[in-house]
C-alpha cells in the first residue's frame, strides 16, 4: 500500500481550517479549533490507513468498499462533528470581534 499526497488527510484538515478561520469567533478559540480539528482528522485517518492495510490482506472487495465508501463517509462525518462542536462552543468560549 502506498500513501501519497492526498492520502494523508491534509486536504480535509485544510478544508476544516478554512471553515474555522472563516467562522466568526475569538482568535484563541479559533486556534483551539485548528489544533483540535487537525488532531481529530489525523487520528481518524491513521485508523483508516491501518484498517485498509489489514482489509487489503483479507479481502479485496471489502477493502474497496471500505476505501471508496465507508471511510470517506466517516471522514466527512468526523469533520462535520468537529466543526459542529467547535462552532456551538464559539459563542460561549469566544465571542466574535
Amino acid at each position: 500500500m502506498e500513501i501519497r499526497d492526498g492520502c494523508n488527510g491534509v486536504n480535509v484538515v485544510i478544508l476544516l481550517w478554512a471553515a474555522i478561520l472563516a467562522y466568526p469567533a475569538g482568535w484563541k478559540w479559533k486556534l483551539a479549533g485548528l489544533g483540535g480539528g487537525m488532531a481529530a482528522i489525523q487520528i481518524l485517518n491513521l485508523l483508516r490507513l491501518i484498517s485498509l492495510y489489514y482489509l487489503g490482506q483479507y479481502s479485496w472487495p471489502v477493502f474497496e468498499f471500505a476505501h471508496l465508501y465507508l471511510w470517506e463517509m466517516l471522514i466527512i462525518l468526523d469533520a462535520i462533528v468537529v466543526f459542529s462542536f467547535w462552532s456551538s462552543r464559539a459563542v460561549t468560549e469566544g465571542s466574535a470581534r
Binding site: M1, G6, N11, I14, A18, A19, A22, Y23, E72, F83
Partner: protein
Amino acid sequence: MRSLPLICAAAFLTSSGWAATYTFTTPDYTSTTDFTNCTTGPCMNYTTSMNTSGSFTVATPLGPNLTNSNIASLVTSYSFSDGINTYSNTNPNSRLFEFLVSTDASGNISNTLLALQDWQSGTSPHSANDRIAFLVIDMGSSATNNSYCSHVEPAPSSGVADSCSFLNSDTASSDAFVMTGTWMFAVPTPTLGEWETIFLGGLLVTFALLRLRRRERGRTAA
C-alpha cells in the same frame, strides 16, 4: 458569511486526481550473449546477476479488461533499467517506441508489449548506423545493448519522433533475456475523492450559515 470564498477555494484547491504507478521487475537474466568484437559504440556485457526493473505512471488507473490497448499517450512518466541502460522520460536519448497493455477484470496488468529505446551515439535527429539500446517487456524482458539502427522514423505505434524502426545486432552488441516478470500496482488511498472534498466544503458552508442564522435569531429575540 464574508469568508465563504475562502472555504470554496480551499475545497477546490485541495481537490486533485491521483496518479497510478505500475512497477515491473524480473528475476535475474537467465540467458546472456556477450559482445565478441567491440568495433564501435559503448560495448558492455550483461550478467546473470542483472535484471530488468522499472515503473511507469498514468494520470488515472488503467481500466479493466483492456486488450493490447495503446496507452503510450497516457503515460506521464516512466523509468526502466535493464542493468546497463536507463530508459526514462527524463533521458533525452530515450524513446518510448511502443506501449500496449492488457488488463484483467480488476484492472491489473495481465500482459504488456513495452518497447523502449536509448540512443547511444549520434545526436538528434539520428541517422542509420547510430548505436542504440533497446528493451522489450512482455511476459519477461529482452534487453540489447549497442545494436545499430537501420531506419530512423517516428514510431508507428507511439508516434515518438526520432525512433528506430529497424535494429540489428553485430559483434559489438550484447543481449540478455528472462522469460518472466511481475507487475505491481501502487494503489492510491486518498482520504477523500475530488467530489467528496467539494461536498464536504459545501456541508461546512451550509452548516456554518445555519448556525450563524440561528445565532442571529437568538440575538434578535433577546
